[in-house]
Symmetry: C2
Subunit: 452 residues, 2 copies
């Protein structure tokens, strides 16, 4: 398999521009589908359509899965229903196929399904589309290998052979009872050690001690935490009656983990939709504007706070507005980030909010005393005067302690109300702390000046 | 396997306090090691030591792997060398064992190794400890199943049986030549389909077309990107001569992915060390102070900028200092976050910095024009006067565009110099944009006031 480098990439671009189909087709066939998708993601619309048609049937299917949502939707619009039936529903594993076709209009989807010749592939995809997004059912694939527990080893092996052809990678053989209910697992290792000539029933070979499964209606998050905890590569999915309906492989769980981490990161950075650097200017602007508008509102609020105090008669106070605002924001973001990560990794829960707050109080006080002392000494030595130095020093201590408590409390409170705690991070905490920090600063300034 | 809930947890805590060893030991044995580790992470030192000794031998080993670094180090200090030899080196897979013992002092480690009876386990761990952290070699485990390609199927199966006992989960059988060099893979599925009575040599059954492997000196990041790209659950590792030296399983790659995501998130949130919410107050303070000191420096810089302009004769300018500073910070963080994520997912590279900047210019202009128009109209309607409204409007546009470009350029420039681009996110970008934003604001104010 060829590795993709910049030189090779340029060569391909030239071939696409010159429309040299046959050379291009040969070059592309030596690349991995993931790499081909990466190239297509960066091409202009027409070039995407042109290049896609040069791919081998197998690559066509695999490339579709790896394309960006925008590019894929556009490309699907140019394919006939028959092409979608063949490239997607018959060419992919059921979970990938369902992911690709779920954005089609109901009409188009019906037409596509009517053209699928492989009845099993068709019913598998139709079944998967009935599950709500975010559930184990929507994540699972229907392809799996299972044997009834009353079969003998010899007959079970024949059964396994029949089913194994449809499967990319055979992780585990599941054992079911006569009503198709999951009762255990059969490791190939075990089957291999017990030579296939035996007449022992599978029920005696199966392992049901450490059988872990998940319900089709359980959440993605639960899938991830179970697979992580038990280090398993394929998780069987059962319905309400315990009937084996599918299996989730570790690569799908990894996708969920990466998606979750990206979402938290984007929320912390003030990006509200799932965008990527190669999305369109409009999509990028739309994802970023909401948080900027919140910041704008905060800024106007800040202007009112400053206006409410007598800045005109004491303009020197203006000098440390950026310091107070920035420090409140920084501390708040740090505190909320630690809570969000703690909740995500389950090392923290909402049963002990007071304990967490009292710990954060210590951290805030410690950081606050260090920073306040530094800023008091610095401003005093630099000649900003005793009154201003004392005001800035005391304010900074109060702002840091308050921001630490506030940044800890908000995500914990959200979690308790079953709202995504990551919403508390980023611009929200920063904006709130900006305004409250200013109020603290000007209040303390009034207090201090009444003493001098 | 029992699920852990709060009630059960309380019950355990009471038993620990009351020192009811035998009941406790029985209760703990029904829990998963990961859950036991979670409980220990939250206990006081002495309780950790007490509870650990109540665990079964197997659980002792597995729990050690899942403990927080701090708790584990402390616990290891209370174990004898013989206990470490048995619980860790003989009780764990080689990669986990090497992870646990790598923090021991050289002296202690030597003593522990001298007490290990299992020669293979000992040499495996010693071998793994020679690899630099962050490399594929440091991530891999030595336990694997391999057969020589000139063996017949019957003899290969015997060989596989011998080796398979040491392995938790048998993913793949590797095929090597007479010099132990990796030449292919043998799927159990394939072996099963070709009944074990045949005399065919393994070389005819092996699959070497899509064989993917990695060098022991390659980086963790490369391991992750290869395993993600090819959706493989076990990656063979070879040395410079192509000799098979180990294998990396997907659960280890998942750990690396989670660690990387956490690190980027912490950097974006201004936390400089790897801390968790249940670390000590001192550890938490130490991790957060460096970025606060940078913010402090930035705040003092900001004071100088404001002082350099004539704030006393135009104190109304102070009202919008928080707005300008906050918006510059927010936009900068958004831009750098998108770049950092793009680089992490390889959807972005440094070959086209100018293209990325020109796209960001469009996004910045679009967001800037919308925000500036809103703020100009709002301040004008609210009666802040034409001069101030125009100053704030124009400044905001300039600040947003500049911050967008700056936030995009810095992480790209760092990546080009092989420095972690995530360093650019969070407090660094915010602080820099604060100061530059103030300079822009006051410069434009001087310009505007010269016209009025």
């Amino acid at each position: 398999m060829l590795e993709l480098d910049n030189k090779y990439l340029e060569e391909l671009h030239t071939l696409i521009e010159e429309g040299k189909g046959s050379v291009l087709s040969k070059k592309l066939s030596s690349l991995h589908p993931t790499d081909i998708a990466k190239i297509l993601n960066q091409l202009k619309r027409d070039d995407v359509h042109y290049t896609y048609r040069l791919l081998s049937d197998e690559n066509k299917s695999d490339v579709l899965v790896d394309l960006n949502d925008e590019v894929r939707e556009d490309l699907l619009g140019t394919l006939t229903s028959k092409e979608i039936a063949e490239d997607v529903i018959e060419g992919l594993e059921s979970d990938d196929a369902a992911d690709v076709v779920q954005d089609l209009s109901e009409e188009k989807l019906e037409e596509v399904l009517s053209l699928v010749k492989d009845e099993e592939a068709k019913s598998d995809v139709m079944d998967l589309l009935t599950y709500e997004e975010g559930t184990a059912g929507a994540l699972m694939a229907k392809e799996l290998v299972s044997v009834e527990e009353n079969l003998t080893v010899t007959r079970a092996i024949r059964k396994i052979r029949e089913q194994a052809d449809n499967i990319d990678q055979l992780y585990t053989v599941y054992v079911v009872d006569s009503k198709a209910r999951l009762t255990g697992r059969l490791s190939l290792k075990n089957l291999l050690l017990n030579a296939p000539s035996t007449r022992t029933p599978i029920s005696e070979l199966k392992n049901s001690d450490d059988l872990v499964s998940i319900k089709d209606t359980d959440s993605e998050d639960m899938v991830v935490s179970i697979m992580e905890k038990y280090d398993i590569v394929a998780l069987p999915v059962v319905d309400a009656e315990g009937i084996l309906v599918g299996r989730i492989t570790i690569d799908d769980a990894v996708d969920v983990i990466i998606e979750e981490a990206e979402k938290d990161y984007q929320l912390a950075s003030g990006i509200s939709e799932d965008v990527e650097s190669n999305d369109s200017v409009i999509a990028l602007t739309r994802a970023r504007l909401p948080w900027l508008l919140i910041g704008l509102g905060g800024g106007i609020g800040g202007a009112y706070v400053i206006g409410a105090f007598d800045i005109v008669s004491n303009p020197m106070l203006a000098l440390f507005i950026p310091l107070i605002a920035a420090m409140g924001g920084n501390v708040g973001v740090q505190s909320s980030a630690i809570v969000v990560q703690g909740l995500a990794s389950s090392s923290l829960n909402t049963s002990n909010i007071l304990g967490q707050l009292s710990k954060e109080l210590s951290v805030g006080l410690l950081n606050g005393i260090i920073c306040s002392t530094i800023i008091f000494l610095t401003t005093y030595v630099l000649g900003f005067g005793a009154s201003l130095s004392i005001t800035v020093g005391i304010s900074l201590l109060c702002v840091i302690v308050f921001a630490a408590l506030f940044g800890t409390f908000v995500p914990l409170a959200l979690e308790k109300r079953k709202i995504d705690p990551a919403l508390a991070t980023g611009p929200f905490i920063t904006t709130a702390n900006d305004i409250i920090g200013l109020i603290i600063y000007f209040s303390i300034s009034s207090l201090v000046s009444s003493f001098f």
